[in-house]
Amino acid sequence: MSIDTRDALRQWIAGVSDKTTLESLADDTPLFRNGILKSVQVSDLILYIEELAGRAVDVEQIKPGAFRDIDTIHRSFFTHDHA
């Protein structure tokens, strides 16, 4: 289940970014520091996370750095101690 979620995130990110490929994007690749995603794409990423999780993301509860890389996104939104 968690592997599927990471893969789905990887595919989405590789699909919207022209700065990475599916093959080169690891679970710990920094998404914003490496310029793979831009800050204006966070809103769309949140909608995609909601779609994968099947529930709303509470934007006010998002912790700093929650979108750092795929692993952090997974930990922040798809485990029991999510934001």
């Binding site: 800050s39 204006v40 966070v42 809103s43 909608l47 779609e51 709303a56 509470d58 006010e60």
Partner: protein, 286 residues
């Protein structure tokens, strides 16, 4: 054309002459039956799609209640952003010309939030959460100022399209129609001010921005409009209206051709000032 100073003086006078007290003006029914129209059917997010065709009248009316709660929630969050930004700009250096009008702007936005909030809490017991997430960053000279007023203008242009339509729709519940009318009545002035200050700020700063800053500003405004538009497709509202698989439904709707055509038509209308100053083109909004 009047100077910005003349315009703000005129807008201040109109705000004083047409002062509205929403606390006593609106007649609030204790409760509202849901088998009525709250939002014009053609403005519902599902309209024009097979998902709308599959609903009966009762389901459409129930959906119209929760979509109006969503629309008012979007307004509450948008106006909170405005109030925060306007308050920060009062009596700052170089705002002497506009500060008198910022007082009216702030006062009116606060009153709008009051009636939107009361409607949501009294009749639905909730305000839907905001979906926009902003990231702190550095700005070029004048960039933050321009982006604040340009975002505010895009937001107000978009919600005003809905307000104007619903203010005239006789099939709507009276309190819903009246709130839309009141909002449109005051927003018309904010829009005149917003378009003008966006033009002035662009003229003042844009020629000093290197190409990458212009590109960043363009990108940010296009994404802001897109994110605001997507807030109209709220799975939480679909769930409350009893619709199945609300997150799949949102994905389906946002990929629908008729929904995309509606977005493009609205974006052309809302971004006119940004086309006029030469920042955006119709292609950049697609």
């Amino acid at each position: 054309m009047a100077t910005l100073s003349e315009l703000t003086t005129r807008l201040c006078r109109i705000s004083q002459e047409h002062f509205i007290d929403p606390f006593s003006r609106l007649d609030w029914p204790e409760s509202l039956e849901r088998d009525q129209w709250f939002m014009s059917p053609e403005l519902l997010s599902l309209h024009g799609t097979r998902h709308f065709d599959a609903l009966d009248e009762e389901q459409r009316q129930r959906l119209s209640f929760f979509e109006l709660i969503n629309f008012f929630s979007i307004n509450i969050h948008g106006e909170r952003m405005l109030i925060e930004g306007l308050a920060k700009r009062l009596y700052r250096k170089n705002t002497e010309t506009v500060s008198p009008y910022l007082h009216h702007f702030l006062d009116e936005e606060n009153k709008h939030m009051f009636y939107f909030g009361r409607f949501c809490n009294q009749y639905a017991g909730k305000v839907y959460a905001e979906k926009k997430f902003s990231v702190e960053r550095e700005y070029a000279e004048g960039e933050e100022e321009f982006l604040f007023f340009a975002r505010a203008m895009l937001f107000e242009e978009l919600v005003d399209v809905y307000n104007r339509r619903m203010a005239k729709d006789q099939q709507l519940v009276p309190i819903a129609r009246e709130i839309n009318w009141l909002h449109h009545f005051e927003e018309a002035r904010h829009l005149v001010f917003g378009r003008r200050i966006v033009e002035e700020l662009f003229e003042c700063h844009a020629s000093d921005w290197p190409g990458q800053v212009q590109e960043r500003v363009r990108d940010e405004l296009v994404h802001f409009f897109d994110a605001t538009w997507k807030e109209f497709f709220n799975p939480e509202a679909y769930k409350d209206a009893g619709l199945q698989d609300p997150y799949d439904l949102r994905r389906d709707l946002l990929a629908d051709e008729s929904v995309e055509a509606r977005r493009q038509a609205l974006s052309e209308r809302c971004a006119r000032t940004l086309y006029k100053v030469g920042l955006l083109t119709q292609e950049s909004m697609q």
